[in-house]
C-alpha cells in the first residue's frame, strides 16, 4: 500500500470534510432551534455562491469585499425564508415543513436560472495558488485555504454559542421552547436568528465549495451529502456535525479514490444505513423519550 498516497488522499478528504462540518453546523443550528429539517440548505449555499459571482465577477468588486457581502446576502435570504415561509408552518407536521423546504429549494433553483442563466460558472479565483505541502503531503491550495477560512468561522461560532448571551438564548430555546418563553426570551426572534446564523455558515461554505468545484444550478445536490453528515452525527448535535462532517468528507474522498467516483455516494450511504441500524438517532443525537 502506498502510504504517501493514502496520506494525501486522506488530507484532501479531511479538508473537504471540514467544509462539510461547517455546512452541517448551519443545518444543525436551524434544526436544534426550530426542529426544521432544511432540505434547501444546498440551494442556500448555491444562492450565496451566485451572489459572490455577481459581486466579484459581475460588479468586479474585490473578492474580499464580495465574500462577506455574499455571505450576508445568503444569511438575509435565510432570515426571509424563515419569516415568510417557515413561520406560518409552526405546529404543522414535520413532513409538511420538510416539503416546504423542498419547495423553497425548487424556487431558488428557478430564481438562479432566471437571473444567472443555466450556464455552468466558475468563481473568480481569490485564494492563493501556490501548492501547499504538509510535510511530504501535497494539498490543493484552494482546499487548504478554504478549510482555513471555514474553520475560522466554525471556531467563531463555537465560541459564540459557548460564551455569549445570545448563544445561551439559542441553546436554551433548543433545549426547552416553552421554558425559554417563560424566561422572557423572544423565541420567534431566536428562530429567525437560527436561520440567519445557519444560512450564514452554509453561505460561506457555499462560496468556498463553489470556489473549488465550480457552480451551476445543480450545485444544491451537495445538500444530500450534508444530510448524510447530520444524520450520522445526530440531527441535534453540534459535536456530531463536526465529527461526522470530517469523517464523511474523508470517507467520500477515500472511497472515490480507491473504488472509483461511482462509489462515493453508496459508501457514505452505507455508513448512514449502518448508523441508523445501530444508533437510530445518530452518533451523538438525543433520543427523545416518548411519554405514554
Amino acid at each position: 500500500m502506498d502510504w504517501l498516497f493514502f496520506g494525501e488522499i486522506s488530507l484532501a478528504g479531511l479538508a473537504m470534510g471540514g467544509l462539510y462540518s461547517l455546512i452541517a453546523l448551519g443545518f444543525v443550528i436551524i434544526y436544534k432551534a426550530t426542529r426544521v429539517i432544511n432540505f434547501a440548505i444546498g440551494e442556500i449555499m448555491m444562492f450565496a455562491a451566485y451572489l459572490f459571482l455577481a459581486f466579484a465577477g459581475g460588479m468586479e468588486l474585490s473578492p474580499w469585499i464580495a465574500l462577506p457581502m455574499a455571505v450576508i446576502g445568503g444569511s438575509i435570504l435565510g432570515g426571509v425564508i424563515e419569516k415568510t415561509m417557515i413561520r406560518p408552518m409552526l405546529g404543522e407536521s414535520p413532513i409538511s415543513v420538510v416539503m416546504v423546504t423542498i419547495g423553497i429549494a425548487s424556487i431558488l433553483v428557478g430564481l438562479v436560472e432566471f437571473i444567472w442563466t443555466a450556464d455552468p460558472q466558475l468563481l473568480p479565483s481569490f485564494l492563493p495558488r501556490e501548492p501547499v505541502f504538509i510535510g511530504p503531503l501535497y494539498l490543493a491550495p484552494k482546499i487548504a485555504y478554504g478549510f482555513l477560512i471555514g474553520a475560522a468561522l466554525l471556531i467563531l461560532y463555537l465560541l459564540y454559542f459557548r460564551f455569549s448571551r445570545g448563544g445561551v438564548a439559542l441553546r436554551a430555546t433548543a433545549s426547552d421552547q416553552a421554558a425559554a418563553y417563560s424566561m422572557g426570551i423572544n423565541v420567534r426572534r431566536v428562530f429567525n436568528m437560527a436561520w440567519v446564523f445557519g444560512s450564514l455558515a452554509a453561505s460561506l461554505a457555499g462560496v468556498l465549495v463553489a470556489a473549488t468545484g465550480g457552480l451551476s444550478p445543480q450545485f444544491g445536490i451537495i445538500g444530500l451529502s450534508v444530510l448524510v453528515v447530520v444524520i450520522v452525527g445526530g440531527l441535534d448535535s453540534i459535536l456530531g456535525a463536526l465529527i461526522a462532517g470530517v469523517f464523511i468528507g474523508w470517507l467520500e474522498t477515500v472511497a472515490g479514490a480507491y473504488l472509483g467516483g461511482e462509489y462515493r455516494m453508496p459508501a457514505t450511504f452505507l455508513v448512514l444505513a449502518v448508523i441508523l441500524v445501530i444508533r437510530p438517532y445518530g452518533l451523538f443525537g438525543t433520543h427523545e423519550i416518548e411519554r405514554v
Binding site: A172, D176, G184
Partner: protein
C-alpha cells in the same frame, strides 16, 4: 390594596374542543403568597399558563373573561413581554435547560430584564445567597442536578428576573418531604425579603397553606372553596375534597346511588 393580578371569570378551551377552565376567578394582592390547590386535572396549570401566555403554545385559548396584571389587560400579550413586565412563571416539572450549565440557566433568565438591567453579578450573588448549593455547582450541567437542586435553579432563574409576581407550579412535585420544607422555607423568605408576590399552585395543601396568606381550591376548572389560609386549614371541606371523606348530608349523592337513579331515568325516557 389593589390586586397585582386579577383573574376574572376566564374560560379556557384546548384544541378548540376541550374546555378546561369554566369561569375561574382569583386575585393575588401585591406582595402576598396565594395558594391555588386542587387535584390532578383540575386546571391549575392551565390557569397559570393562561396568565403567562404560554397557553397558545399548547393550542389553548382563553375564550372568555379577563386577566389583569398591574391593572392592565394582558390577554394576548406575548409571553416575553409579560416576563419583562414583572410576571415570572416557573413551570411544572422545573423545566431547567438540561444541557446548559447552572450559570447559563441564570444567564438565560436575564432576557427577562431587557429594559432595566441592574448589575448582573449582584443578582447572581442574590441567587447564590438564597441557594448556596447552586454556587458550588454553577459550572455543572443542569441536567445532572438532583430534583431539589433543579427546583432551586428554577427559583433562582425567577429571582434573576426580579419580578413582581412569581407563579410557582408544583414546586413540591416528586421531592422528599424534608426537601419540600426546605424549598418552601426559601420561597417564604424570598417573598418576605424581596417583596415578591407568589401564586403557588400545589397539591400539597399543608405546606402551601403554611406559607400562604390566602388559598383557593379548584375542581373542574372552577374555584370551589376559597378563604384565608388559616380558615381553610380548619375547614372540613378541604379534608373532604382531598380524601373524599364525610360530606354533609344531602349535599352530595354517592356515585353508587346515582347509578340506579340514572338507570331508571334511562329506561323511562
Amino acid at each position: 390594596m389593589e390586586a397585582l393580578l386579577e383573574i376574572d371569570n376566564i374560560e379556557v378551551v384546548y384544541n378548540k374542543s376541550v374546555q378546561v377552565l369554566r369561569g375561574l376567578s382569583l386575585r393575588v394582592p401585591e406582595g402576598a403568597i396565594v395558594a391555588l390547590l386542587g387535584s390532578n386535572g383540575a386546571g391549575k396549570s392551565t390557569t397559570l399558563k393562561s396568565v403567562s401566555g404560554l397557553l397558545t403554545l399548547e393550542d389553548g385559548e382563553v375564550t372568555a373573561g379577563e386577566v389583569r396584571f398591574r391593572g392592565k389587560d394582558v390577554k394576548g400579550t406575548a409571553p416575553e413581554k409579560l416576563v419583562r413586565n414583572g410576571l415570572f412563571h416557573v413551570m411544572e416539572g422545573r423545566r431547567v435547560f438540561e444541557d446548559l450549565t447552572v450559570e447559563e440557566n441564570l444567564i438565560a433568565a436575564t432576557y427577562a430584564l431587557t429594559g432595566n438591567k441592574p448589575s448582573l453579578s449582584d443578582s447572581y450573588e442574590t441567587v447564590y445567597n438564597y441557594f448556596p448549593r447552586l454556587k458550588d455547582r454553577r459550572k455543572q450541567l443542569a441536567g445532572y442536578l438532583s430534583g431539589g437542586e433543579q427546583q432551586m435553579l428554577a427559583l433562582g432563574r425567577a429571582l434573576i428576573a426580579q419580578p413582581k409576581l412569581i407563579m410557582l407550579d408544583e414546586p413540591s412535585l416528586g421531592l422528599a418531604p424534608l426537601l419540600v420544607e426546605e424549598i418552601f422555607t426559601i420561597v417564604s423568605r424570598i417573598n418576605r425579603e424581596q417583596g415578591t408576590a407568589i401564586l403557588l399552585v400545589e397539591q400539597n395543601a399543608a405546606v402551601s397553606l403554611a406559607i400562604a396568606s390566602y388559598g383557593y381550591i379548584m375542581e373542574n376548572g372552577k374555584i370551589v372553596i376559597d378563604g384565608p389560609a388559616d380558615k381553610l386549614t380548619a375547614n372540613e371541606d378541604v379534608r373532604e375534597f382531598y380524601l373524599g371523606v364525610g360530606g354533609k348530608e344531602g349535599e352530595a349523592r354517592s356515585y353508587r346511588d346515582i347509578k340506579h337513579y340514572k338507570r331508571r331515568k334511562r329506561w323511562l325516557s
